[in-house]
């Protein structure tokens, strides 16, 4: 029977295989960063939290259990680090409405790329950013990062049923925020034409 690739990577990582680390890093770094930057709404904080996440993986690699699912493990650590950070720093509530401003400067943003960051995406990002972190994280984990609800529930440290309810509430809230965002956008459009 073919072994789960994540489990195979965990075994190789335990043995100190650097190429295994590179595979894990290449696979999960972009996803973890996207998750953290949408949670923290600050690039520098997301970078620090993610660096800490990787350092922790490297520190405990020899003690990883054979059945460790690296993806869930990494998201759990990243999420817990964010929660700890918020508790210790009283995260500011202001949000960055324009997520494209969080793109790194050295990655060129062509006019084509910018135009494609269309109006609906912008409103969706804004609506996501407006949600309380407990609702934002469930939508990011399942909706954006594609974790299975059972895995995402473990990441959040809650039961599957509690997660299901939270996800349902989060979707309803996001929908509300999108609608009010659309109304604001239409009001601005009308006012600008007057």
């Amino acid at each position: 029977m073919e072994q789960d690739p994540e489990l195979v990577l965990a075994v190789r990582l335990r043995a100190g295989d650097v190429t295994a680390f590179n595979e894990v890093f290449d696979t999960f770094n972009p996803r973890l960063f996207s998750f953290l930057i949408r949670m923290a709404k600050n690039r520098a904080v997301a970078e620090d939290l993610l660096e800490e996440t990787w350092l922790r993986l490297v520190s405990v690699r020899k003690n990883l259990q054979p059945e460790t699912r690296l993806g869930a493990w990494l998201f759990t650590v990243a999420r817990n680090l964010f929660v700890s950070y918020c508790r210790s720093r009283a995260c500011e509530q202001s949000h960055t409405g324009d997520l494209i401003l969080l793109w790194p400067a050295e990655r060129s943003r062509s006019p084509f790329e910018l135009a494609h960051y269309n109006e609906f995406e912008q409103r969706l990002e804004t609506a996501l950013a407006e949600l309380p972190p407990t609702y934002r994280e469930v939508l990011l984990l399942v909706g954006v990062e594609g974790l299975r609800p059972a895995d995402a529930a473990k990441v959040c440290g809650i039961s599957a049923e509690a997660f299901r309810q939270r996800l349902s509430r989060a979707r309803a809230l996001l929908s509300q925020h999108l609608k009010s965002g659309e109304q604001r956008h239409q009001t601005v459009s009308i006012e600008s034409r007057l």
Partner: protein, 88 residues
């Protein structure tokens, strides 16, 4: 699940990944390699976040500035009280 909610989830799945900075990525990867290779000693595991390094310096400066202002104010109040009390 309503049709609206399905579309919402599809829209979420299409949100683009925000990439980390190339330089940051290279630095963190290299640091992890050094730790795995043993060329860099493994950090003492701490629950403190590395990002604390960015903030406490600034917070310490603000604390000192606030303490200095308070001290100056108390000194001025004390001086004025002494003057009004005829001690000075």
């Amino acid at each position: 699940m309503t049709k609206d909610h399905d579309e919402l989830f599809e829209a979420l799945a299409r949100l683009r990944r925000i990439p980390p900075a190339t330089q940051w990525e290279s630095r963190v990867r290299a640091r992890c390699h050094s730790l795995i290779d043993g060329t860099e000693p493994e950090p003492k595991y701490s629950s403190q976040l590395t990002c604390h390094h960015r903030l406490p310096y600034a917070m310490g400066f603000i604390d000192v500035a606030a303490a200095a202002c308070l001290f100056g104010y108390l000194l001025a109040v004390g001086h004025e009280a002494a003057r009004l009390g005829g001690l000075l």
